[in-house]
């Protein structure tokens, strides 16, 4: 049973990556996080369905429970490490900008021409809008009192900051 749980969680994760690769070719870039959640739920649902027929009712609950937890942690680890750094890290983007300049190198003025405060803020705002957390009205932006993925992440970070205080705050 041990191997079945691990292999099935790994297969689910590979399927998750493949589906992500396909879905991201046809969807709005700003809704990436929402799509990741949808893909996770879809793959988890399919795994439940397949598991019920493969293992029957006997071991179903235990296998599914373990599978769900391991698969969820795989997706969270992937999102927190690989995906979020590639998607939203300013440092990674700057490294890419400098790397693209090749042996000629680049200056701060050249970087700021196409990557600056305005573009960084606009990118975040369009993500919030696409996820339905923010409403744009001309030049004004209004926060909606909705359950927010970003707020959830912020609250987790706050909890960590409470447990692990820092002298820099």
């Amino acid at each position: 049973m041990d191997t079945i749980i691990l292999v099935s969680a790994l297969i689910s994760f590979i399927v998750f990556c493949v589906v992500q690769m396909i879905v991201f070719r046809f969807t709005d870039e700003d809704r990436a996080l929402l799509w990741l959640m949808k893909i996770f739920l879809m793959v988890e649902g399919c795994s439940l369905f397949a598991g019920y027929f493969l293992w029957g009712r006997g071991a179903f609950v235990e296998i599914v429970l373990w599978h769900a937890v391991i698969f969820m942690l795989l997706v969270i680890s992937y999102t927190l490490t690989v995906f979020s750094y590639s998607e939203a890290s300013i440092t990674v983007r700057l490294l890419g900008e400098i790397s693209r300049s090749g042996s000629r190198g680049t200056t701060k003025n050249e970087i700021i021409k196409h990557y600056n405060l305005g573009s960084i803020v606009k990118r975040r705002l369009s993500r919030f809008i696409a996820n339905g957390e923010l409403v744009a009205n001309g030049q004004r932006y209004r926060w909606k009192n909705s359950v927010s993925l970003f707020l959830l992440r912020e609250k987790t970070v706050r909890l960590f900051q409470m447990l692990f205080p820092s002298w820099q705050r």
Binding site: L6, L73, T91, G96, S103, G105, K108, L125, Q139, W143
Partner: protein, 161 residues
């Protein structure tokens, strides 16, 4: 179910110890990512449980503990290298005032804090080198940038940031 209890116990012990170590080190003015090594204690608890035949699903238990520790590491890494996170600052601005303009939001940030400090971090990390006013990617930085580019290309995420 007993495996779940053992994993929870192992992780909770390590987490409490980590919090204590972090706070003790903080009083001495040190915050280091190396403090996550304390999670080896949880691993030791799992190994002892395994050797005493207490784990029904040993492989899954070790993987589960490893993944929980990895998530913990990802969050702790963010706390050890605090920087202006734009999304977080924008959210805090909206928590203070429900309606904001683009100008108000852009004013929350400085080019120094958001961009130049990060380039300095890249230089310190040896991923970028500086000659006068120009910045060049090092071999190590180039390798990382290429790996990220391949990932972004595969997943159609073209430009991050």
């Amino acid at each position: 179910m007993s495996d779940g209890i053992i994993i929870t116990f192992a992780f909770t012990c390590s987490l409490i110890l980590h919090i204590v170590i972090h706070r003790v080190l903080l009083k001495q003015g040190v915050v280091t990512i190396k403090s996550v090594r304390v999670y080896i204690i949880g691993l030791a608890i799992l190994i002892i449980s395994f050797l005493n035949n207490m784990l029904l699903l040993p492989l899954s238990s070790f993987v589960l503990y490893g993944l929980i520790t990895l998530v913990m590491y990802a969050y702790y890494l963010g706390l050890c290298h605090p920087a202006e996170t734009p999304a977080g600052m924008i959210l805090r601005a909206f928590a203070r005032k429900k309606t904001q303009t683009l100008t108000e939001l852009t004013r929350l940030f400085t080019v120094q804090g958001l961009l130049w400090n990060r380039i300095d971090q890249l230089v310190v990390a040896g991923l970028v080198s500086r000659k006068g006013e120009r910045f060049f990617v090092t071999a190590k930085g180039g390798f990382i940038a290429r790996c990220i580019w391949v990932y972004q290309k595969f997943f159609n995420r073209l430009l991050g940031g």
